[in-house]
Symmetry: C2
Subunit: 310 residues, 2 copies
Amino acid sequence: MSILVVGSVAYDTVETPFGRAERVLGGSASFFSVAASFFVPVNLVAVVGEDFGAEQMAAFAGRPIDTEGLEKTAGETFHWAGKYSYDLNARETLFTHLNVFEFFKPRIPERYRRSEHVFLGNIHPALQREVLDQVEKPRLVVCDTMNYWISRTPDELKETLRRVDVLLINDAEARELSGEWNMVRAARKIREMGPSVLVVKKGEHGVLMFGEEGSFAAPAYPLEEVFDPTGAGDTFAGGFMGYLAAGHGEAGVHRGKVDDAVLRRAVIMGSTLASFDVEAFSLDRLLRLTRAEIEERFRLFKRLTHFEGI
Amino acid sequence: MSILVVGSVAYDTVETPFGRAERVLGGSASFFSVAASFFVPVNLVAVVGEDFGAEQMAAFAGRPIDTEGLEKTAGETFHWAGKYSYDLNARETLFTHLNVFEFFKPRIPERYRRSEHVFLGNIHPALQREVLDQVEKPRLVVCDTMNYWISRTPDELKETLRRVDVLLINDAEARELSGEWNMVRAARKIREMGPSVLVVKKGEHGVLMFGEEGSFAAPAYPLEEVFDPTGAGDTFAGGFMGYLAAGHGEAGVHRGKVDDAVLRRAVIMGSTLASFDVEAFSLDRLLRLTRAEIEERFRLFKRLTHFEGI
């Protein structure tokens, strides 16, 4: 029941109205792996440069995260720098040094190839398919992407989407990918491209999920201190997929068909993990997070959204 | 258990990407009254000009809406014109002809003065207090306002807020009124100004309510066709307050203290009514709405948000 994740492991330099963090651990696969590792073992595939230190590697130690697939290669690690204003939903990229990530060709270690759950982080859609080609028989494929691939490689992306069960993107990306402003129509068009489930991330406004049994809306947890939103989407994905892969609840996961009640709890679990991520820079909060805290906040989500019928 | 509502009755001229409506019935008190009238009798106080016709008055007929307080005076009716782009959350005001509304002095008819529930629509905060002065013993005072009063008459507004139980405003207004970007802090500051409950309307992103027993988040209903958002906030208010005033459920309404479970259902009822309003221009959809449709969509809201605990 392990998850194979392919994505970026990076350095982030982040400025928010509340502080600044220089060259701290970031990258989609980092946030995803730590979040998912609360639920199931994670097989990590990414690339770093020679400057990637033991301090950063320590984040993955002591957790069920297999780093055999974390390739170290000549050059520098991917480094992203961004700045948030008070509106933490919007950010400005100061620079993106792809470095070794520019030539990343995911190579899936032999013992990862029987992973039943695959998370395709935000990389070139052709590379995402190459990952799938190296996995024997995935039961559940979850995919992220971004506006860059939607506008520059739409045909490649659509070919990938035919092999994806769950697509996780934000609202602007869903609109761009579908060409529809209205989210209900956008979801229908995107689900016709392949994914049976679409999860639309809306930052502080929560998540909308569209699946075979209708739609599900979940708020973001209203926090008094949102310190740094970096990684919230990837942390959501890790909590979401970790919960699914752990096979909780009723019917669990079948190829292309996930039980709706489990999907809903997985969305809340993703939102729960994401709500912790934003409380501190980098993975700082996730790395000191406990199972008890996760369960307590999940219960608070229930309290936050519950109402009785009339 | 009737509601006294004071606000505007107006002509709206609206352009959306889907069509145009010229000089149709609008105004906060119109939307509010029709929505609330599904639950309790409504006592309407507003002003119109000599050009306000029988066709418009027909909207209030055949419903428990008392129009004795709808004053007709020399001059023209308030006329607002606005234009929506595809992003239906944002709109451009083309013109605002206040006309007779500019000199509106709410005069509460004798038989309205024992109304136990008062909705103060978006008018000058000093006028809102004059309304309260004319009501004998209100059990529940709900208030709307807007950025115009927040920035121009902040002291007047704060004096009014001390007498308000529930404040309904949008997220930008909550930020401006509190001077806080973070909504949890904004809510705390605003609740210290008087209202024990703050309901923050976020358009397509739903509603956040902050009360004595914590917070409640409700999504907007994801509709495939959002035709015209005009009046959604006032319709929400009508459904919300109508449900409260009908005294549904457990403890019901006491001065300054409303049962949390009832408040939550009231938020969903407001969202339910608002989701119908946006399906057509003006009050067109509300005027052909049935009780069965309301109950069915309330159930769909439950389905939209429900998840089981872990």
